[in-house]
């Protein structure tokens, strides 16, 4: 039964655009899906390696800006009168470059910041995100600053023999996002259940012991950071091409907090956790908007976050697993579902 759960969930979600006609709710599904991808990528760092990166929104935003700029083109003058002119490229190329550039940033940030741990790591990552936000705000020639990048084209796929297909409608975007969620789920699932994943969990549980048995801690942490940043970049790219407009607010700390709440609520270190947490927090605003202003919603979020840490520190998914008797012994490394183990 448990083995089929992801497939049932996927099918159930795939049927949504067939019966849901309300564009507002469909929009909520799409943006929630995008944030679920981002939360899943954060979970790889937070849940499996135990590193709380509070600058994760930087990779999301870098992905969004990279993808938008590649497909819109730009013309900037660098220091020393050196001019860089870029003609617009196909959007799908932007999507892949977003993953690449974000992953590269993840590599650099990981290499530099994994020299420190705990509170220091958290603060370095936040600082990085804030610096990137200030650059996006002030480098007006490239990013238009607070005026935002507008008219970002939708993602277009050229299929041989079938012509072009662009993801313009909400329905098509829904399936695109669902596809990326499923793909991320598989990639992260494969990774954490491999030798690499076991090394990550080992260093989360006891770093000095992991070092003593010969695990190259920094290498695995940087690897996790690269994959995590790349997936976050993909989410950012989807976000930019779906909304068709992005401004430096995409780097706000509150977005990182949203991702963290999703992961913690769902259950860090579980594959399904970010999806469950993401769906809950994606749809709270839909329910709450009828009676609460945005500030009041955020106040509720804050209290909810405190409450979750107090009463359900492991999150919802592990609590449910425990409830249904899927005990510790049946869970794979890092608390993932056993079904991923059986497929190997």
């Amino acid at each position: 039964m448990k083995r089929f759960l992801p497939w049932i969930a996927l099918l159930a979600l795939a049927s949504v655009p067939m019966w849901l006609r309300d564009p507002y709710l469909l929009n909520a599904f799409i943006t929630t899906g995008i944030f679920i991808v981002a939360a899943m990528s954060l979970n790889l760092l937070l849940g499996y390696t135990g590193q709380l990166s509070l600058g994760h929104v930087a990779f999301f935003g870098i992905g969004a800006y990279t993808s938008a700029l590649v497909s819109l083109g730009f013309d900037v003058e660098l220091i020393g009168g050196f001019r860089v002119v870029h003609e617009p490229w196909p959007v799908w190329l932007g999507f892949f470059l977003a993953i690449l550039v974000s992953g590269l940033c993840g590599y650099i940030v990981g290499k530099l910041s994994f020299r420190v741990r705990g509170a220091y790591f958290v603060i370095v990552t936040i600082s990085f995100a804030e610096v990137v936000r200030l650059v996006a705000l002030n480098w007006v020639e490239l990013t238009q600053g607070p005026l935002a990048l507008t008219s970002i084209p939708p993602i277009t796929l050229g299929l041989p023999g079938l012509g072009y297909f662009d993801f313009f409608s909400k329905q098509s975007n829904f399936y695109l996002v669902l596809g990326v969620v499923a793909l991320s789920y598989v990639i992260i699932g494969r990774l954490v259940n491999s030798r690499i994943g076991r090394a990550m969990v080992a260093l989360k549980e006891n770093e000095s012991l992991a070092v003593s048995v010969g695990i190259d801690v920094t290498r695995y942490l940087v690897l996790a950071a690269v994959v995590s940043a790349g997936i976050a970049g993909a989410a950012g790219s989807l976000y930019a091409h779906y909304l068709k407009i992005i401004d430096p607010d995409v780097f706000l700390f509150l977005y990182t907090v949203t991702m963290v709440i999703m992961v913690i609520t769902g259950g860090k270190g579980t594959l399904a956790g970010p999806i469950v947490g993401g769906l809950i927090f994606g749809f709270i605003p839909v329910v709450a908007r009828s009676f609460a202003s945005p500030e009041l919603q955020w106040i509720l979020y804050g209290w909810f976050m405190i409450l979750i840490v107090f009463v359900l520190p492991q999150g919802i998914v592990p609590a449910i697993e425990k409830w249904f008797g899927v005990g510790e012994e049946a869970r794979g490394p890092g608390g993932t579902e056993p079904k991923m183990q059986e497929t190997h």
């Binding site: 509170a119 220091y120 603060i123 600082s127 804030e130 955020w298 106040i299 405190i306 840490v309």
Partner: protein, 290 residues
């Protein structure tokens, strides 16, 4: 050259309030091992409280400052008892998440109660600045500088010369041994958090009238306080004081000679640089990182 000296004067005034902010955070961080994301919100709380008492209730400006500092002290104690005491012994990430939750609640409560429009606080100081030769400084800023210095001195006295301060230092060095020697750890934690909070509120109360009071002011203040603490080294009060002035210096130089848009980036670049090249901070004794 006059421009440079004008920047230096601004640096001293800004630095003195940053030092207050940093001392408060370094106490909480050093003694309680709590990454206090709500620190900046206590700063904003202090500023709003002065606005509330001085402008809306019409109290004397100086009395309002005192009331705001006291209110910060009480709010800090309340946060400690309600949110942190039940979580004693939890790891650093868990309390960090709780403080992020508290930060979100406080910031949005400010936005909800006071609205998004920035408020300004009028003061009894004359509008015309004090002019000495080619330099000018407003009376309000001069007052802020000396008030902040007085508060820093008070914090030093409290930590180094009183019984409470000695117990706090003992707890910082070794919590368990301090407890064995009869130090009431619960009381020390509450005192630490409420002193740290009142220093943040004092910084906000002093800077609020200089700039404007807005719900977003706490956001950046938290991060700046972290920058100061990291610069100075964890738990080092002297380090936090100097760190405050260094950050103010970097910001003034960055805003004055690079671009005013990157003023706030200076602090973050400093954090990144310090953590990469000298992760123990500039002035700390050897300290384990992470």
């Amino acid at each position: 050259m006059t421009e440079f000296f004008q920047h230096m004067i601004n640096m001293l005034i800004l630095g003195s309030t940053y030092a207050l902010l940093g001392i408060g955070l370094t106490l909480i961080f050093g003694i309680m091992r709590i990454v206090n994301f709500a620190h900046g919100e206590l700063y904003a709380f202090g500023a709003y409280f002065v606005y509330f008492v001085a402008v809306l209730l019409g109290f004397n400006f100086f009395l309002s400052l005192l009331i705001a500092i006291l209110a910060g002290c009480i709010l800090g104690a309340l946060i400690e008892v309600v949110l942190l005491r039940p979580m004693r012994g939890a790891d650093i990430d868990t309390t960090m998440l709780i403080m992020i939750g508290a930060m979100i609640v406080m910031q949005n409560t400010e936005q909800y109660v006071w609205g998004g429009v920035a408020k300004s606080v009028s003061t009894p100081f004359p509008e015309t600045p004090l002019v000495i030769g080619a330099f000018s400084v407003s009376w309000l800023r001069l007052f802020v500088f000396f008030a902040a210095l007085a508060l820093i001195a008070a914090a030093y006295f409290l930590i180094n010369r009183t019984k409470l301060g000695r117990a706090m230092r003992a707890t910082f060095q070794d919590r368990d041994t301090a407890a064995l020697m009869g130090v009431n750890i619960q009381a020390i934690y509450m005192a630490t958090f409420s002193i740290g909070s009142s220093l943040a509120a004092a910084a906000g109360a002093l800077l609020g009238p200089v700039y404007v009071v807005s719900p977003q002011m706490g956001n950046i203040a938290s991060l700046k306080a972290f920058a100061i603490v990291i610069l100075g080294g964890l738990g080092s009060i002297g380090g936090a004081t100097i760190g405050g002035f260094i950050l103010a210096f970097a910001e003034e130089m960055g805003a004055g000679y690079i671009s005013s848009g990157y003023r706030d980036a200076m602090g973050f670049l400093l954090i990144i640089a310090v953590l990469l090249f000298k992760p123990t901070g500039l002035f700390a004794r050897s300290e384990r990182i992470g």
